[in-house]
Amino acid sequence: MNLEQLSNRNIGQQTYKMVDLKPTPSTGVKKFTQVVERTFKGELFVGLYVTFREMINALFKGEMHTFKYPLEKMPISPRYRAIHDMLRLLESGHYRCIGCGLCEKICISNCIKMETRYDENQRKEVSEYTINFGRCIFCGYCAEVCPELAIVHGGRYENASEQRASFSLFEDMLTPIDALKQQKEFDGFGAISPNADENIKKTPLAY
């Protein structure tokens, strides 16, 4: 099941049919004819057919609804806001963060703490970066404000851990250097929209 199927799995075609309920029979004869009609209409067999069809679909056509959760996970939307990821530059492998401090500034629950310094190349370097996930409300402002798409929301939604610190360090959130090839560009909240090129306008110098 891919993401599109999953997100549409409970959406019908909206072709509801109203059941044509006749008025409740009043006389005995009408009641009797209703019973006879319902008896020989075969609606019970329609019910049997429906369940049997579902069983065949589930068994042989792969339409089983169950996810064996710890063994297989449901695909989640790229807009889902789970534990943050820190991305790297694909070319150099250096982390993208430029130490601007905007995420720390915008964080409305004050859970991001960062310290920066200049390294020997006079480039901003992140010396300390932690997110207090006890406070984080996963609002996504940090990902939205980040000019470099360095801090984004990842897909790690299993937040159970022995220690809060298991998530909150910069190194834990940073893409491992050997998994750089697998790093996916973030297309969720705060990412560049697919039609970004069309939206570019000339800078209005007239005013």
Partner: protein
């Protein structure tokens, strides 16, 4: 058809048969819970038990261990003696009823097996000439299990459950009896072996073609008497918690369960033998396989109906029994009699 001359039925053969019935049916009762959960799950597009053993097959072992090790609780104000023996009545009557139905085809133990070699094991443990009457009677006696259990446990849900047991079982006994009366008239015997011999001539000789109405009535009444879903008012969770088994736990609850599944098997066997040809050979298929297929179909049909149909209200249940099914059954018997006379 000329009946083949069968070897003499010895008491040791009957004893072996009894042990086979007890072991196999008790195992089927446990296995039936697995099948039921799996089939219901598939029909709702779920997986059912998967984790214990391959395909969850050992789930029944896990359930058995759980039932065996659970505490046997007897409520404070319950009538201890009756509370304790009621599940035994349920299971015992279910198995006694099985003694007069053909469960597997007869066979002779091979000579090379020590001690028991050459013993003839009959298909029916007790081939009494009123077999069908005995089975229906024993299944009716099974009413006392739920009835006493519900009344002994001093629980209002139990009382309601046992009251429903009484009305449902007693009412549908009438329909069962009247619906099998017409086939009995056609065959002219109450022995299930005679029913089997009567339909030995292939599919065309099945009694269901002559008695379709009786067949449908018998199935409906069978569902009611085995407490299956369209008529599962005795222990319907959303209404009366668990009905007569509310206060039971552990092994005693398991006995009710085994009794219920044994009754399901009995009804399946009865429907197969009376109406759709019994354990006769069917083309190249041997008799035992045919019988297992038929019984399995009826068993599956019970689960299928449970997945498909909502259950009825108690007043609808009574209405359907006394105002619809019983008159139809009587008319069916009358018409059968008239046709036979003419």
């Amino acid at each position: 058809m000329e009946a083949a001359v069968l070897p003499e039925v010895t008491s040791i053969g009957v004893a072996i048969k009894a042990i086979i019935i007890l072991a196999v049916i008790a195992a089927i009762a446990g296995f039936g819970t697995y099948i039921e959960r799996k089939v219901l799950a598939f029909m709702q597009r779920r997986l059912g038990p998967t984790h214990v053993g391959p395909y969850g097959l050992l789930q029944l072992v896990a359930d058995g261990i759980k039932l065996f090790t659970k505490e046997d609780i007897i409520p404070q104000h319950a009538n201890r003696l009756i509370f304790m023996i009621a599940p035994v009545i349920m299971a015992a009557t279910a198995f006694i009823a099985l003694s007069a139905v053909p469960v597997f085809p007869d066979f002779t133990i091979p000579e090379w097996i020590p001690l028991l070699g050459g013993v003839f094991v009959p298909s029916i443990a007790a081939d009494i000439n009123v077999g069908l009457l005995f089975v229906l009677g024993m299944m009716a006696t099974g009413l006392y299990g739920p009835l006493l259990a519900g009344m002994a446990q001093s629980n209002k849900w139990g009382i309601i459950g046992s009251a429903r047991t009484a009305i449902q079982f007693l009412s549908y006994e009438v329909v069962t009896g009247l619906s099998v009366l017409a086939p009995i008239m056609l065959v002219g015997s109450l022995s299930l072996a005679d029913f089997n011999a009567h339909q030995a001539g292939g599919i065309a000789s099945w009694l269901v073609w002559q008695q379709p109405v009786a067949f449908v009535l018998f199935l409906i009444a069978g569902f009611a008497e085995t407490n299956r879903t369209p008529f599962d008012l005795l222990e319907h969770e959303s209404e009366i918690i668990s009905g007569y088994v509310t206060e039971y736990s552990g092994l005693r609850w398991g006995l009710f369960f085994i009794g219920e599944y044994a009754n399901m098997v009995t009804i399946s066997i009865l429907a197969s033998v009376i109406f759709i040809g019994g354990y006769n050979d069917w083309g190249f298929l041997p008799a035992w396989l045919v019988m297992i297929m038929k019984v399995a179909f009826f068993f599956f049909f019970m689960l299928w109906a449970r997945a498909s149909w909502p259950h009825v209200r108690p007043d609808q249940l009574m209405w359907v029994c006394w105002k619809v099914l019983m008159p139809i059954a009587v008319i069916n018997v009358l018409i059968t009699g008239l046709v036979m006379m003419v």
